[in-house]
Structures are given as C-alpha cells and as structure tokens.
Amino acid sequence: MSAQDKVTIRMVPTGVPGLDEILGGGLPEFSFNIIAGAPGSGKTTLAHQIMFANATAERPAIYFTVLGEPAIKMLRYQQQYGFFDQAKLNTAIRFINLSHVVLEKDLGAVLEEIIREVEAANPALVLVDSFRTVVRKAQGAVSDVELQGFIQRLALHLASWQATTFLIGEYVEAEIRDNPVFTVADGLLWLSQQIERNSIVRKLQVVKLRGQGSVPGMHTVRITEAGLQTFPRTFGLTGKDEHPKGLRRLSTGIAKFDELLHGGIPEGDSVLLAGPSGSGKSIIATQFIAEGIKQGEPGIVAIFEERPGQYVRRAATFGFDFDTPQKNGQLEIIYLRPLDLSVDETVHEIVAKVKKIGAKRLVIDSLAGFEMALAPDFRTDFRESLYRMIGALTRMGVTIISTVEIEDVFTAMALSNFVISFLADDIVRLRYVSLNGQLRRMLLVVKMRGGAHSIDMNEYQVTDKGIVIGKPLRGYRGLISGIPGPWNAGPADRSLSPDESAANP
C-alpha cells in the first residue's frame, strides 16, 4: 500500500516533555489506552497532564472517577502541578463520579452512564480512574466473556464517538497475559517504581502501541512541581543530522600535548583521560575548555565532585577566567548532584545546554563522580548508559573529554575502572612513575581512533600555569609499570630533571 493510500492518524500530544518522542509522535487519536502501574507510580498525574494539555471547551475531557481517588482529592493535589489550569475546570474538563453506579448497579448500567455522558458532552478525551475497580467489582458477578464484551463495547463506542480514551488502573505485570482489557487496548503505558537500597527510580515503558513505532525500553520518569517529565532513551536526538568526525583538530591548549596527538583532538571525538588522584586530569580538562573559549568554541563542564564556585576559583588559580564566559554564554558549568540521578536526565540537561550555547566542547569531570550521583539501579547500567550518552553527544558534533580516576598499581597499567575504553575514540593515560627516588608524572597517548599519534611516554609537571609536558622518557624498561629500571645495564637514567622539562611547554 502506498503512503497516500494509508489512513492518516492524527497524533494527540501528551503535554509531557519527552513522552511524544517515546511514543513515536504522540498518541493516536481515538485510541483506547491504558495507563497502568503500581500505586504511587504517577498514573493519575500522567492522565491529568494529558487531559489538561488537550481539553478545550469545544472538545472537552470527561474524567470518570470510580472507587479510587475521588475528584475532590485529585483537585486538591493535582492543582499543585504547573500544568493544572483551573480555568478549564467544569468547562473543558468535567469530573463525573461513578462510584455509586459501580457499587449499586451492574456493568450494563456503568456502560449506559458513560455513554449518556459522552453523547451529551462530545468529549475529545475520556478518562476512567480507576478502571481496575470497575472490573474488580464486576469480576465476581459476570463471566470473563461478559467482561470482555463490556470492555469491547466501551472501546467501540468511545472510538465511534471520536474520543481518545484512557483507562487508569493499578495492575501487576502478571496480568498482561490474561486480563481482557489489555487485549482490547490500542496502547498500554506502564509506569513503575523500582526500589534499590534507599533509592527509588520511576520508569515508563510503552508496552503496546498499535500502528506506530514507539521507542522500546524503560524510560526514566521524574515528577517535579511541573508534573511528569520523561527522558527518552534516545535523548531526543532521533533523526538528527550526524556531524562527521575529525574534520578538524581541536587544540587542547597545551601545545606539546597537541603535538603528541598529532595536531590536537579530532573534532567530535570522545577522549578518556585516565589517571590517579592528583595527576592533573581536571587541569588538562580545564585547559581544553579555556582554549575552546579562546578559539570561540563554547564549552560545557559537567562536574560532580565540586561546586561550580569552587571549580571557577580553581580555574582562576591557573590563570583562567571562567566568570566572564559564563556571563557571555560561552561556558556553562553543570553541577548535578540530585538524589537518584539517571544518566538520561544528565544527558537531557547537557543536550539542552549544548543547544542553548552551541557548545563544541564538553568535559565530564569525573565519570566516577557521575556514577556516584546515579541511583544504584542506574549504576548497574552505567556502561550501557555511557555508550548511549557519548554516542548521542558526539553525533551532535561535541568533542568530549571524560576524566576517570584510576588507582595506580605498580605491576600493571589499567585504562579505566569501568571497562569503557571501547567507548572512547582516544585514550590518554596519566600515571606516576618512580624515578631516581622521586614520584614523577608521565603521560602517554594510548589510542587514537582517528589516526596516528605519538607513542612516546612523556614526563609532565603540574605548574601554576597548568600542565607542562616535558621530553620523552627514554632509556627505561617497564615505565608503564610505574617502577622502571634501566633499559641497559648500568646507570642509564636519561630522564629530564623537572627543571629541564619545564622549559618545554
């Protein structure tokens, strides 16, 4: 069938940030949907948000309340959210209590009452909360076939009257197979709360949606004073143009480092800067951002271990003014330390800032801090989340430096604690080495996906001007172990003294 022969299904926007993307554009008009989940998962709030986004005086919404939360309590609590518009009450939005009908009469009377109200009001949206209680009341009195017949008649009638319907109910996942309402439904949105240790994480899954491609998987949900916000696993970047990588090189702000990288970091690359505490990872990252600002390339710093004020003051000790570029819209410092953070929320924040200032450079300082800020449930998926995050951001043309702290051991040289080296286009390793009775610092470029790079292992120093890279360390065996010995027998320590190497910035 050609595209022009297909029926055009209009999409109903949900009014929930991120949810339309998850659904594949919105909810199909006149569809019969279920919003399911455990108590407290946000079902009623989601239903209200959709209702307030779509109801008009001409095509109102009817909200049938049954044996669950009465409307007076819904109004009490839902008016606390930003989406609540009291001007719509009793004009665009009408609440009807069906409790007495459900309690005193049979399913036929319930159907008759709903039909009567729908035919009188001509609503665009019909919501029944909680539909589960309607079914539960009926289950003892009617057969499964009769129950399915009731649901089918309800669905058919509401669709015929051109209403998009939402049945809200508390269900458990085991019911998906057997409950007739799930068979009839066109769409099934499942909200859940996952508890791990002291952390609670809200998630949403589109279990079923007829006729369109929704984004599979569990999407993070957060409820704030604005209402529900969803964070699509696609980070809102589906269908966006990809920026080709490596068309030019970005200077790190450290000339000698750029040389080791054979001209700087390829644009759009993800760089892993790995090293122990005090090795200067954050300083290199700071210089990378400062150089970007100098070159007219706005930057973002996502920090997890210190506050923005501290970060700016520390940058100032190396001679970098980060106050002015923040005021000029060239720099955003994102400090993310809420409880139970998800990677998706973090990326949402970063993507918003990238779009806002047109950022070309991003520093994540550090991955360990990032992981610690996540809810435990998300920590288990950290690798997978990083994979999606780095992929999404580099597709936007952003060049990323992520710092990762590694505890140096003096028998081997690890590249990361997260087994994420494959995610990085480029890996730079900093480490301590014991030379001539001194604990000195050494830098080496381990990997550059975009091409050749120096294979030297250079000594470097942390000075009050930033990182100063010295000459290659030669004449040693076992440098990467951190405890080198002479390459040849005899006193062959040919490394530079700190004073000699400082003369080579």
């Binding site: 309340t65 009465p70 409307a71 007076i72 309590k73 109004l75 009490r76 008016q79 009291q86 009450l89 009793n90 009408r94 609440f95 009807i96 209590n97 409790s99 007495h100």
Partner: protein, 145 residues
C-alpha cells in the same frame, strides 16, 4: 462568633440572599440554606460522589451546630438533603435562622475550600449559581483569628 473564613461567610450570605430573592415570602432563611445546600449537591457530588457529599455536609452541620445550637435538630438525610427545619420554624427566631443558615453554608464552602482551595471553591459556586456574580466576592482574604 464563627470560625469559618470571613470570605466564606460573605459568599454564603450572598448565596442565601440570591436564594431569598427567588423564594416565596413564606420561606425562611434556613430553608434558603437548605436550598443552597441542595444546589451545591449536584456539582459537589461530581467531585465526591453522593457519599462524599453526605460526609461533607454532615461535617459542616456538626461545625455549624457548635456555633448555632438552634441547628441541633437539623439532620442530613441519606440522600444528602437536610431535615429538621420545620421544627426550627416553629421557634420563629428569625435571627437564629439567618445566622444558622449562613454558618451552615459557610462551613460547607469552607470545607470545600480547605480541600481544593478558595479559587476553585468560587468556581464551583459560580457553576451552581451561574446567573449570579459570585466571582466578585473576595475569597482571598486570610482567615482572621
């Protein structure tokens, strides 16, 4: 002295005045209160169900009786209507009727305002008396001690 919000008393007085203007000369103020409560029953039942309206009105009556003992004979029927006014009528104390009616309706509105806020309460009242200009009533004044 009543404890309900002064704004609710103002609104109750206006509602009862509207009902009085529409009533026969033989009706009393308390009857107007009963009619006002009956008019509020339909929109409130939409929010709370018939059982919820019964609970709200029963609570309002208990609060009102504490302030106006003459209301002690008034009861809420199972269908949400008020009974017992005939007995009060026989006492023929107009002042008590007026005060009792205002206090009862004010408490009912006050309970509603406690749950859904004064602004939405005003909208409910406007829906029940669409011809009246109740929205001009200042419901935003704070409760006085």
């Amino acid at each position: 002295m009543t404890n309900v919000f002064p704004a609710m008393q103002d609104l109750a007085r206006r509602i009862l005045a509207i009902e009085a203007a529409r009533a026969n000369a033989a009706d009393t103020q308390v009857d107007e209160a009963a009619r006002a409560c009956a008019k509020l029953q339909e929109p409130l039942s939409r929010f709370t169900g018939p059982a919820g309206f019964f609970s709200l009105l029963s609570r309002a009556l208990v609060l009102a009786k504490a302030e106006v003992p003459a209301l002690r004979v008034v009861q809420v029927r199972a269908d949400g209507s008020l009974a017992g006014f005939d007995e009060i009528k026989r006492d023929n104390d107009t002042v008590k009727f007026e005060i009792g009616g205002v206090v009862l309706v004010a408490h009912l509105l006050g309970l509603l305002a406690t749950f859904i806020g004064e602004s939405l309460t005003r909208r409910v009242a406007c829906d029940a008396w669409p011809d009246a200009s109740l929205d001009s009533t200042d419901l935003n004044r704070e409760e006085t001690p």
